[in-house]
Symmetry: C2
Subunit: 191 residues, 2 copies
C-alpha cells in the first residue's frame, strides 16, 4: 500500500517489448493491429490503431483575431467549430501540412510560423500526435477545399472570444482546444 | 472561389446518414466499424473506432499543488507524466469514473468536484470523449492500482509548474493538457 502525499520514485522498468505485430485491418484512413508483447504484466496482445498525425493552426491577425472554421463531423453528428488543420500526408513535414491546410481551408497564408508543441490525443489507443502552430503575418489568398469540405465556413473572432468558445464547450476538438489555450496564455494582453 | 477575411454563412446542410454499419473488429478495448453512408459527397464507407470515453482529474490541494502520475505507455514507448484518470467503465457516470480513478491511482479523495467540460480527442476517427474535472478538498486514502499500473508513480507540483510541464512538452496527453490549462486559466493567481 502506498501513502499519497509523498513523492514516489521507482527505477525505470523495462517497457513491454514487441514480439509480433498482427495486422487486423488495413483501411484507407485507419489501420488496426494486435501487438504480441513480452514484459512484466504484459497482456496477451495490445490492440491499437494507426491514423495520420494531425495539425492545427492558430492563425492570428494584426488585430488579435483568430481564424476558426466550422464543418460537419459525421461521428459527433453535428457541425463543429475548430481551428484550421487536418491530417498530415505521407512524408509531409508537420509545418508544411499546417501551411497547406490553412491555405486550403481558409485562403490565409502566414509569413511567420511558431510551433506550439504537439499532443497525444489518445496515447493508449494510438501513437498519433497532433502538432500545433501559431501563424502570424497573414495575407489573403484563394481557398481550395475538397468535396467533403463543401459546407465548411470560416470566421474570425478575437482570441479571447475563441477561448470563451473553448470554456463554454463550443470548441471541443483536442488540438484546437490546446492550441487556443496555449496561444492565449502566451498573449494574456490579447483580450 | 471564396475570399477570406469575410465571415461566410451557409444553410445547415444534411449530415451523412447511416445506411448500414459493418463490424470489422470487436476487441476487448477497441471496436472498428465501416459505416455505409448516404448524403452529399459521402464516401463509400466511413471507417471509425470505438474506444471507452475517458476522464482526467486536476486534483488541487489547499497549497495550490496538483497531483500528477507517471506511468509507462506502450505506444509512445516511454514513461508519460499525466493527470490521474483513465477509461470509463460500461454504464459508469464520468464523475464517478473520475473519483474512482483518482482514488485507485493516487489514494486521494476529493470533497468537491467541478466539471471542466469535455473534449473530442480525435473526432474524425472516434466519437470518444474525454471528460475533465477539477477536484478540491483532498484527503488521503489507500491506493489500489491494477497489475499494468505497478510502475506508476505519483507526485505533486504547483499548478504553475504543471502548466510549464505542458508548455515545455513534458505533459502531452490531450486530456491532461487541456484540463491543466483550463484550471490554470480560471486561477491565474495560482502561480
Amino acid at each position: 500500500m502506498l501513502t499519497p502525499g509523498h513523492d514516489e520514485t521507482t527505477s525505470e522498468p523495462d517497457l513491454w517489448r514487441l514480439v509480433e505485430r498482427r495486422t487486423v485491418y488495413e483501411g484507407r484512413f485507419v489501420q488496426l493491429y494486435q501487438d504480441v508483447l513480452e514484459g512484466p504484466a504484459a497482456p496477451e496482445f495490445y490492440e491499437h490503431v494507426r491514423v495520420a498525425d494531425g495539425v492545427r493552426v492558430v492563425a492570428l491577425d494584426a488585430e488579435g483575431r483568430v481564424v476558426l472554421v466550422e464543418d460537419q463531423f459525421y461521428l459527433p453528428q453535428r457541425r463543429m467549430l475548430h481551428l484550421p488543420g487536418g491530417g498530415i500526408e505521407a512524408g509531409e513535414a508537420p509545418a508544411l501540412a499546417a501551411a497547406r491546410e490553412l491555405a486550403e481551408e481558409t485562403g490565409w497564408r502566414a509569413a511567420s510560423w511558431q510551433p506550439l508543441g504537439s499532443i497525444h490525443p489518445l496515447p493508449t489507443s494510438t501513437a498519433a500526435r497532433t502538432h500545433l502552430f501559431l501563424a502570424t503575418g497573414l495575407t489573403a489568398g484563394s481557398v481550395h477545399r475538397d468535396a467533403t469540405e463543401q459546407y465548411m465556413t470560416v470566421r474570425q473572432v478575437p482570441l479571447a472570444e475563441a477561448v470563451e468558445l473553448v470554456r463554454s464547450g463550443v470548441v471541443t476538438e483536442a488540438g484546437s482546444v490546446t492550441a487556443l489555450l496555449l496561444a492565449a496564455q502566451s498573449r494574456p494582453s490579447g483580450d
